[in-house]
Structures are given as structure tokens and as C-alpha cells.
Amino acid sequence: MSTREIFDSRIESALLLLPTLLVSVVFLYYPTALAFRTSFFDSSFGRAEVFVGLENYVGLVTSSGYHRSIVISVVFAAVVVVGVVVVSLYLTFLIHEVDTGQGLYLISVIWPYALPPAVGALVFLFITHPTLGVLTGPIESLGVEVDWFNNGSQAFVVVALAAIWKQIGYNVIFMIAAMNNVPDTLTETAELDGVGGLRRLVSVYVPIMTPTIFFLVVINTIYAFFGTFAFVDLLTSGGPSNATNILIFNLYQEGFSFFNFGVASAKSVVLFVVVGVLMFVQFRITDRYSYYGG
């Protein structure tokens, strides 16, 4: 109906965009391009670069360990993203439903977000350490043997739990705003119709919150792929039996433990492609299901 584009000086707009674009190009795009270049070289500290063509990629293509790492990363991301969104939604919903103590509940559930991942990891180690953990005893008394230093699936679960736990706060911050934005009259209509609890959440709030949820899915995906490094590094170092060797850790190890920069760069490129493809798929799916779409 009307327009916000009230200025039209190209020079001004260019000047305004310059800092962001400059930083993006110099520190984001340019290094990414360099990484792409390095991926065709054999490169390490103190040694001359040697062009090796696709050799680094060939190595990745033929490495079953790396394939596994890709699969693990994707599954891990899926578990983390779904877990975070579901738990956060439910929590947000519960908080939205109560009238008293909202503020207190909110702060109590979002604080882990303020906690540095490294600390989060240490605390989790403390709690679930297979022999020394605070909760190990109680859990084992339920008949589950806590053994995630040896048991891959358990390690995966522990790392995923820690990662989910840490990210809930960020999601709740956005979700509570979105849920509060749902017009009261919709809630009241549902209430009058006797549309209760979960059904209201799933059938009314969630669809209306799709833009926020989509935003969070994107952010959470990036988090799952890149932001969970500390958990793997400090909890499992990718083990046991590579069960938690997600791409980012794999890449870090290749680059900064083994100093194989060429291979590491190739892994960066693969990681970038994997995340890019997933994002693309997500955009397509949400485009289809977002209620605004038609």
C-alpha cells in the first residue's frame, strides 16, 4: 500500500552497506574462496604447498570413515534441531499457559543459553561421567548401564542432549515473543471451542509461528553443525568408535591436530556443501508448508 523506501541516494546506500560488505568479503567470502583453493593442495605447517588436484577429495570420497562422519553429522543435526524445537516449543507453551511466575520460569529455562558451550560440556561430563557422574548412580539404578566412553549410541545421546539443552534458551527467547504475538482472540476462540492444550499448540500456535520456527530451524541447523564443537571436543573427542565424530570436529582435528590443511580445506568445502544443501531443502519444504504461502 505504501512505501518505506524514502531515500534514493545510491552513494549513501553504498556507504551504509560498505562496512558490512567489506567485512563479509574480506573475512568471510575471501577466506572461503581460499579454503576452496587450498582444498586442491597438499599443505601443512612448514612445508611447501603442492598442487594435488582432486586428490584430497578423492581421499574423502573413498574414506568410509568420512562417509560415516557425514551421516552422523546429518543425523546429529536432525536430532538436535528436532529436539531443540520440540522441547522449546513445549516449554514455551507451558510458560505461555501459566499466569503466575512466567518471568521466573522464563529466566530459569533460558539461562543455559548464556552458558559457554565449553562450560556446558564440562558440566555435562560431570553429571553423566560413566563412573564419576552425579547422575550415573541414579540412572544405573533404573537398569541402564552408563557406558558412553565405550558405547557409541550412548555417547551420541549424551552429546545430543547437551547440545539440545544448551540451545533451548535461544529458541525460547524467540518463541515466547512469537507465541505472545498470536492474537489473544485466537486463543480465546480455541478456548471457547474447547480446543485444549497440545491441540491448540499444534494446530493453532505452531502454524502461526512458522516464520519464527523456520528462522530457528535455520539457526539451529547451523548451530548443530558448527556450534556443537565444544561438546564433542570436551566430552567424547569424536569417539567412541567415531560415533560422535561430526564433520566440524573431524575438520578441526584434520586441520589443527593433524595439520593437513589441504584435506581439512576439502572437508570445509564438503561441510559447506552439506549445510548448503540442507538449507536449500529446508527452504523448499518450508516454502511449501508455510501458511502464508497460500
Binding site: T20, S24, P116
Partner: protein
């Protein structure tokens, strides 16, 4: 369970005796109950960390050990004085403040150009900025590391701040917010011939206070929690940040000494600044983020 709740409700009703006070909905108690369980689950880890930070050696192996110990003062003193952890915190603070202020400034510029200027290709520019979401440090840390060395920035605050300044998330959120400012207000400014600088300073920024504060908190937490990149690029102790510095509290790892209590004391200290910010600014943090389509 249900019976207990119903009983509790009857008791409450009986105590109230009339309609004077607010009617507590049937589901309220259940909701509070669920919330309490979830809150305990979320808060438990930090409770453990806190308890540990007050112990002598800090090994806790069961729920029974969770009572606070008597070494709190001693441990925190040791961390702050002997390990000069304050120094790391200070470095973290400097880094975070520079990142937050820098990000905000240049993102406001960019978002303003994108929303309020009628210039060609700005959607493309926005996409170009958004795309950097896919290029987090891990994808490019090897060349970035090299770039820092070439610039002579390694071990300086520049290395841990400048590359972070471009912020897709901030630009995205600010753009969302700018789009929610009624066009008629913007057009009034245009009719009055308010120039871009004046518009930004006197209209846009004051009307964005909440979002700016909210984004600042999120960005602060993000910056404060950086771990991987400082780990790589900062190797002199004097410039190290708290997240990485935490590891130094572990004590003589090679020698088998693991001073959990010090690590947890450090962790608690590290948590404080972002947590305080979140508590103080919880209103803008929880109320201002709305993500709409487009």
C-alpha cells in the same frame, strides 16, 4: 497424579471459599508441575557446577554430594588471584563489547540501506549478507588463520573481533524490525524532509531501542561464548579469553590432577556476565523479537 491434583484444587477452593480470588484453572497445577520438573532438569547442571565450585577437590559422585562445601571463598580466590582468571574475563569482556558495538553499528547501517533506500539489487545484497550464515568460522578457519598472520593480527584483539563484525542475524532481525515500523511514520519523516542521518538518530534508533538491546544481549552471549576461534588464533596467555582460559584451571592434567572445583568456579564466573545481562534486560530480550514472513 490426576487425583492428587484434583485434591489439591479442592483444597485450594475450600481455602478460598468464594470467587473473590482468581479461579485457578484445572490445568494450571498440572502445567506448573510440568514446568517445575523441566525447570529443575534445565537448572540442575548449574546447581551441580555451583556445588562443585565450593568443594575442595570437587569430585562428586552422587546426588548426596551436592550440598555446598566450605571451600567457596578459597576456590574463587584461587581462580581469580592465582590463576589470574580476571585477566581472561577482562579480555573476553573487551572482545564482546567491541563485537557487540561494532556489529550493531554496521548492521544498523546495512539494514537501514536495505529497508529505507530505493536502490536496485538490494534484495541481492541482502541475500549476499544472509548467505554468510553458511560461512561460520569453522568453514574458513584455516585461511582465516593465514589471513590474520598476514595482517599481523594474530594474538591481538583485532583477530577475535573484526572477522565477527558482519552479522547476518543482526541485519536480518533489524530488517524485520524496521519493516514493522508503520510506513506512515516513515512517510511523515519523508514529507517533513527529514534527512537520513536525522532519521536514523531520532526516529529509527529510538524506535528500535528494545530490539537493539535484545540483539545486543544475543550478540554479547555469542561473542562471550566464542571458543574455537580464540583457541586457534590466540596463543599468548595475556590475550587469552575466558572460554579458553577455563582449561588452564584444570590443573596438571598430565600429572593426573584434575581440579574440578576450580574449573567449576571459573565456569560460574564465566557464566555471570551474560547471565546478569539476560536478567537485567529480560524484558527487551523476551518481548521484542518477532519474525514475520519476508
Amino acid at each position: 497424579m490426576v487425583e492428587v491434583l484434583q485434591y489439591a484444587k479442592r483444597r485450594v477452593d475450600a481455602l478460598r471459599g468464594d470467587h473473590e480470588a482468581r479461579r485457578i484453572h484445572e490445568d494450571d497445577l498440572g502445567t506448573h508441575f510440568q514446568l517445575l520438573i523441566l525447570v529443575v532438569a534445565v537448572v540442575f547442571p548449574i546447581a551441580v557446577a555451583l556445588a562443585v565450585s565450593t568443594k575442595q577437590t570437587g569430585v562428586i559422585t552422587g546426588v548426596g554430594d551436592l550440598l555446598p562445601g566450605s571451600y567457596a571463598v578459597e576456590n574463587y580466590r584461587e581462580v581469580l588471584v592465582d590463576y589470574r582468571f580476571g585477566r581472561f574475563m577482562w579480555n573476553s569482556l573487551a572482545m564482546s563489547v567491541v563485537i557487540v558495538v561494532g556489529k550493531l553499528a554496521i548492521s544498523v547501517f546495512a539494514a537501514m540501506a536495505i529497508v529505507y533506500y530505493r536502490v536496485p539489487y538490494k534484495d541481492l545484497v541482502f541475500l549476499f549478507i544472509l548467505f554468510t550464515l553458511l560461512l561460520p568460522v569453522p568453514v574458513r578457519f584455516i585461511p582465516l588463520f593465514q589471513l590474520m598472520n598476514d595482517l599481523g593480527w594474530s594474538n591481538t584483539i583485532l583477530a577475535i573481533t573484526v572477522p565477527y563484525l558482519a552479522s547476518a542475524t543482526t541485519v536480518f532481525i533489524l530488517r524485520q524490525h524496521f519493516l514493522s515500523i508503520p510506513t506512515s511514520i516513515v512517510e511523515t519523516a519523508k514529507l517533513d524532509g527529514v534527512g537520513p542521518l536525522k532519521f536514523m538518530l531520532f526516529v529509527l534508533l529510538p524506535m528500535s531501542k528494545g530490539v537493539l538491546v535484545g540483539v545486543s544481549i544475543i550478540m554479547f552471549v555469542y561473542a562471550w561464548n566464542q571458543y574455537l576461534w580464540p583457541l586457534i588464533i590466540i596463543d599468548s596467555e595475556a590475550n587469552q579469553v575466558a572460554q579458553v582460559g577455563l582449561q588452564l584451571l584444570q590443573g596438571d592434567v598430565q600429572g593426573g590432577q584434575l581440579s574440578w572445583s576450580l574449573v567449576m568456579a571459573g565456569s560460574t564466573l564465566t557464566l555471570l556476565p551474560p547471565l546478569l545481562l539476560m536478567i537485567v534486560f529480560r524484558k527487551p530480550l523476551l518481548e521484542t523479537f518477532s519474525i514475520q514472513q519476508k
